[in-house]
């Protein structure tokens, strides 16, 4: 009896941006006053919004961005290990997006052009500090590395699409977007 009167346990949610632009996180904040309603249902673990550095056991993980360096892969695996449900949010997480436009170029050529030869940019040489994660030869979407449970496309997905997805999931329904909310751009 008492159990039914106590407030339901909040779902623990972690979010991160890998090779992304934080646009999906901005779009998430665009759900505006619905955030207050959402905070009755969820609490945040690791996220740019909390500044917690490592992901603990979570119900939901939202990944923005694809994989362009070794640290991205490490963070993604940490999320997969700790999140019951992992969601790829936005074009970059789903197909590599804008960072993947370098995939038909040689990585060394790109680095040399940016750090050594291109006019108008500082020519400090290619950074090689041991603390910097090594770039991957190609940018990859996250489903190529870990199992992804749901995909939420868009560049970014609109606030309404994110809200529809979240409310469906929190209510125990299969998230569906449909015409007007499902966008790849």
């Amino acid at each position: 009896m008492n159990a039914s009167l106590s407030p339901p346990k909040k779902l623990r949610v972690a979010t991160t941006s890998l090779a992304g632009c934080f646009g999906c996180h901005m779009s998430f904040l665009d759900i505006d006053e619905r955030l207050l309603k959402l905070l009755d249902l969820i609490e945040f673990d690791r996220s740019p919004l909390t500044d917690i550095k490592h992901c603990g056991p979570c119900d939901l993980g939202f990944i923005e961005g694809g994989l362009c360096n070794a640290e991205n892969v490490h963070v993604l695996r940490e999320f997969r290990a700790h999140c019951k449900i992992l969601v790829a949010v936005g074009a970059c997480a789903i197909n590599g997006g804008l960072p993947a436009q370098r995939n038909h170029l040689d990585l060394r050529d790109v680095l040399e052009e940016v750090y050594q030869t291109e006019a108008g940019l500082s020519h400090g040489g290619i950074p090689n500090d041991p603390e910097l994660p090594l770039p991957l030869n190609k940018v990859h979407p996250i489903h190529e590395v870990v199992k992804i449970d749901y995909f939420l496309p868009g560049c970014p997905p609109s606030a309404d699409a994110i809200w529809k997805f979240l409310t469906d999931l929190l209510a125990g329904r299969t998230p569906t977007l449909g015409h007007g909310l499902l966008h790849y751009d």
Partner: protein
């Protein structure tokens, strides 16, 4: 059958009845087939796709266009005819056919075909001028494609910006060959041809010595300039004339905008 004089033999009557049963008279009432349980009328010689389109019923497709003869290559329009798989753009409608179209089984297969197209090319909608007007994108929306599912190929396909008025971005080519048909059948120029080998090499090619569009007599007024269902053949110096959000498939899903043949 003309019954000339006085007696009509029993045999003749029987023969007539048999002929009717084998090949029903081509009256309007008989030329009907079932598409997902609904009656669809057709005129003899029409394919299932042509009859469905004339009826305003959507069958997903990419390489078929009402103004051109069927190419039958994309297989998106695969339906089940009396229990057997077949391309609705090439199968002639017959009276009494039972055709399955938008079943979960068929749409699942269609989605997989789309996902293979998406990973084989470089389809980055956010940076594509065709977004919102793109048949590939709209079809993927219609079939609820949430991810590419497969590993990406990221093929290297340089663009051809040689022509003064038209840009060719081969990254988005889905090999529907509609430009080949339009240039050959309407423009009479034969500028485009399918060529190359293998998954990554095969795409539309330009029939000029240099392989560049600038070295052909291609014009922005050609039918082939406006036929591309995706963002390969694009007019230069024209971008975002209609904003994202107000484009063809933003207004209604592709299944509610069945395009009929140009009269």
């Amino acid at each position: 059958m003309k019954t000339s004089k006085s007696e009509v033999s029993v045999q003749a009557n029987a023969r007539e009845a048999r002929v009717k049963a084998d090949r029903p008279a081509e009256t309007k009432a008989n030329n009907i087939f079932q598409l997902d349980g609904e009656d669809v009328p057709f005129t003899p010689g029409q394919t299932i796709m042509q009859a469905a389109t004339a009826n305003g019923t959507y069958i997903p497709h990419l390489c078929w266009h009402p103004d051109f003869s069927a190419h039958g290559s994309c297989k998106l329009c695969t339906v089940k005819v009396n229990g057997h798989f077949g391309s609705s753009c090439t199968i002639e409608a017959q009276p009494g056919m039972e055709v399955e179209n938008r079943t979960m089984e068929l749409d699942d297969k269609r989605r997989t075909l789309l996902q293979m197209l998406f990973v084989e090319g470089n389809h980055f909608c956010p940076s594509c001028e065709k977004s919102g007007n793109c048949t590939l994108q709209a079809t993927a929306y219609e079939l609820n494609m949430m991810s590419p599912h497969f590993d990406m190929f990221y093929p290297d396909r340089p663009v051809d910006a040689s022509h003064p008025d038209i840009l060719l971005d081969f990254n988005r080519c889905i090999m529907c060959a509609l430009c080949v048909a339009a240039s050959r059948d309407v423009d009479g120029k034969n500028i485009f041809a399918m060529g190359g080998r293998g998954l990554l090499g095969r795409r539309v090619h330009i029939s000029s010595e240099s392989g560049k569009l600038a070295d052909t007599d291609f014009a922005a007024t050609d039918r082939a300039a406006s036929i591309c269902p995706v963002g390969v053949i694009l007019p230069k110096r024209k971008g975002f004339a209609i904003p994202i959000g107000q484009r063809t498939y933003d207004l209604a899903p592709i299944s509610r905008q069945v395009k009929k043949a140009t009269p």
